[in-house]
Symmetry: C2
Amino acid sequence: MKFTTHALLCVLVLSLASCARPGPPSEAMDLAQVRQALEAANAKFVEAFNRGDAAAVAALYTDDATLLPPSSDLIRGRQGLQDFWSAAMKAGLKDVALTTVDVWGSGDTACEIGKYSVTVQPEGQERRADSGKYLVVWKRQTDGSWKLQADIWNSNLPPQ
Amino acid sequence: MKFTTHALLCVLVLSLASCARPGPPSEAMDLAQVRQALEAANAKFVEAFNRGDAAAVAALYTDDATLLPPSSDLIRGRQGLQDFWSAAMKAGLKDVALTTVDVWGSGDTACEIGKYSVTVQPEGQERRADSGKYLVVWKRQTDGSWKLQADIWNSNLPPQ
């Protein structure tokens, strides 16, 4: 019995230590691993966007995601996002590139600052380049994958 | 001894239950309380901005915060932020108002979607109104307060 008591005491101490407060337990987020997962998801975004597949782009967002595009009110929900990205493709946005700059977060919430570049070429009009930056909040899904929960960006260039 | 063993067993089970996995422990974030804290911080931002105190605005950000303003590259660090907000005030931005729309997050990371309105009146030029939306990632400080870690916005209006 004494052994059992000591064994239990050890397990108790270890189990308490493993979820010690204060300080967010989520500090243990493996940022290198999360960054790799977000970059892989961004690669899927770019691939889907550049082949003009708005549904595949929208599928990378959570069901209740919010998109905050310039010159637009905010847009909620996957169908609205798909319609937005479809319209953007039809308006001549192509050759998107994304570069992750910073990743941080805790628990199931990861934040990413990145830079984008894109070509804008409306039909019959001159081709122009745009570049800017974005902030995306990602949400870890129950299967361990990450989806975009909120997505906002703006151009580095003066208004055109 | 038997009592002690049982007592330890109970404590062990309770302590393990209190930090049960899977699922981020940070789901326990009290969103109503966090929202209240962020709205209070936003009220300080608005008050400082509208009296033209760029240093007080910058003090609401973390030391290593990132600002992602439209028509600009990203800006890092409190002095850079203070210079930006000071320049914005001199350029005629005033009467800022902020309205929180959504708050979520986990651990020490809180995310806020909101709407802004602002008046822009460069010296000797016509007054115009701007409105748009923002995404801010807040970081909980060791004293329990929240500071802006990343801040990006864009206008709902067409480019002007």
